[in-house]
């Protein structure tokens, strides 16, 4: 299992510098792949629509996920509900490349997350801070992403989460070794994982940005803040010209510090998703799963 975990962390390393796009049909998956996505997230409804529809949101139909797997050569990810290990078993059975145990869906367990160390397929999980990130890694996650606030087109929460995580990592690096025990208690995380953060100055796994990315500038902002890649959910297929926007976001992630290029990429993209800001929403997804 140790070797499997290593291979799963390494798959995340291959995704770095890339954009993972939410898609709901094989046609959208093909558009995403052609636009340069490094992976797609197969789901029945994108977060903005989940938010609009309300009710209970579950894992997607495996037949729908399979049809997306058959239409592209890039890795295909899919979401299971927090704590719903049977949905995760189903996704493993159809050989998904990555499972996102996601706060976007309605949680199935309000205490426990999936014991991800029991699975052969890799998991990515959302986190708002270093404590959440290291707890998910302790449970077996081999990739982390910021939670942000999905389906809003508002980048503020993703920025908040990335900045907080980075600041906590810098703090962990600055501590003396004997102070790490107390910090591990404070963060409610295993000492060994915090020690790794202290020694290497980074999370032990790849860390992407997610939640609220709607423009090439949003994507570049997250990369400049230290994200190793970007998930774009509702931002692409809720916009006026998905192909153009997807292509522009992919290029902005590669050349995230070239402001002239990003100015060009941001020009004439058509309408961005309308968006909704944090004071206007009732359902706060980021609070799911601590």
């Amino acid at each position: 299992m140790e070797e499997r975990y290593q291979l799963n962390k390494e798959l995340a390393q291959m995704l770095k510098g890339g954009v993972i796009m939410d898609v709901t049909t094989p046609e959208q998956a093909v558009i995403a792949e052609k636009a340069g996505a490094c992976a797609v997230m197969a789901l029945e409804r994108i977060p903005a629509d989940i938010r609009a529809a309300g009710g209970v949101s579950r894992m997607s139909d495996p037949a729908m996920i399979r049809s997306i797997q058959e239409s592209v050569s890039i890795p295909v990810m899919a979401k299971c509900r927090i704590g719903h290990f049977v949905e995760a078993q189903i996704l493993e059975a159809i050989e998904i490349d990555y499972i996102d145990e996601s706060e976007v869906l309605s949680p199935a367990d309000d205490i426990y997350h999936v014991d991800k160390s029991k699975f052969k397929v890799p998991f990515v999980c959302g986190a708002r801070d270093l404590g959440e990130a290291l707890r998910r890694i302790a449970e077996g996650a081999s990739m982390i992403r910021t939670k942000g606030e999905p389906g809003t087109g508002d980048i503020v929460q993703a920025v908040r989460h990335m900045r907080k995580m980075n600041s906590q990592i810098r703090h962990a690096v600055s501590l003396n070794e004997d102070e790490l025990y107390e910090e591990a208690k404070h963060l409610e995380v295993p000492y060994e994982l915090l020690k790794q953060v202290h020694d290497n100055g980074r999370l032990p796994v790849v860390n992407f940005a997610a939640g609220g990315v709607a423009t090439p500038a949003d994507a570049a902002l997250m990369m400049q803040l230290g994200a190793e890649g970007v998930f774009v959910g509702s931002g692409i297929f809720k916009s006026g010209d998905p192909v153009k926007r997807a292509t522009a976001i992919v290029q902005a992630v590669t050349n995230f510090s070239d402001s002239k290029l990003i100015a060009e990429l941001s020009s004439g993209l058509g309408e961005a998703m309308v968006g909704i800001n944090e004071n206007e929403i009732k359902l706060i997804m980021e609070e799911r799963g601590k």
């Binding site: 290593q6 340069g36 050569s73 890795p75």
Partner: protein
Amino acid sequence: MRIGVLAVQGAFAEHINKLRQLDTESFEIRQQNDIRKNFDGLILPGGESTAMSKLLTELKLLEPLKSMIQGGMPVFGTCAGMILLAKEISGCDSPCFGTLDITAKRNAYGRQLGSFRCTDRFAEKIIEMPFIRAPYAERVGENVTILASHENRIVAVRQDNQLATSFHPELTDDITIYKYFFEMIENRN
């Protein structure tokens, strides 16, 4: 010796770290400006070949890098890098550089559950080989030398100035393949 590492997407940082450990100067290639400098070798890292291919075209890197490779620039492709170099990709009409006379099969070992680590012979040495959603060469041309096979699948090849592996030496502690690549560069100079 300076080595340019294609850095449009994928695990380029892992190659750069490895080169640093080997006291070899390297730099990232993200756009046309980056290849105006002089360099002696080119590394195409692991990642997603479709994403890299698209970015190479859009960032107008494809043609200049291709003519450098055709002009004899030593190049080393790992995993997706092998696919970028391949003359033919099975199930896909459009090769990327298309300079290496092989037919590459993408995701040849299946999805992530098919990823594995093994040890096998490369040239004269037994080395560690991590395969991650890896390709292999289904066919090789007459001028291509097979440097490694694993379970009868061709996983490392060379054609003149081009070296390609299905697996990821940058994810192991072994430096055999880097040394091999450095020799290719030195022999050219």
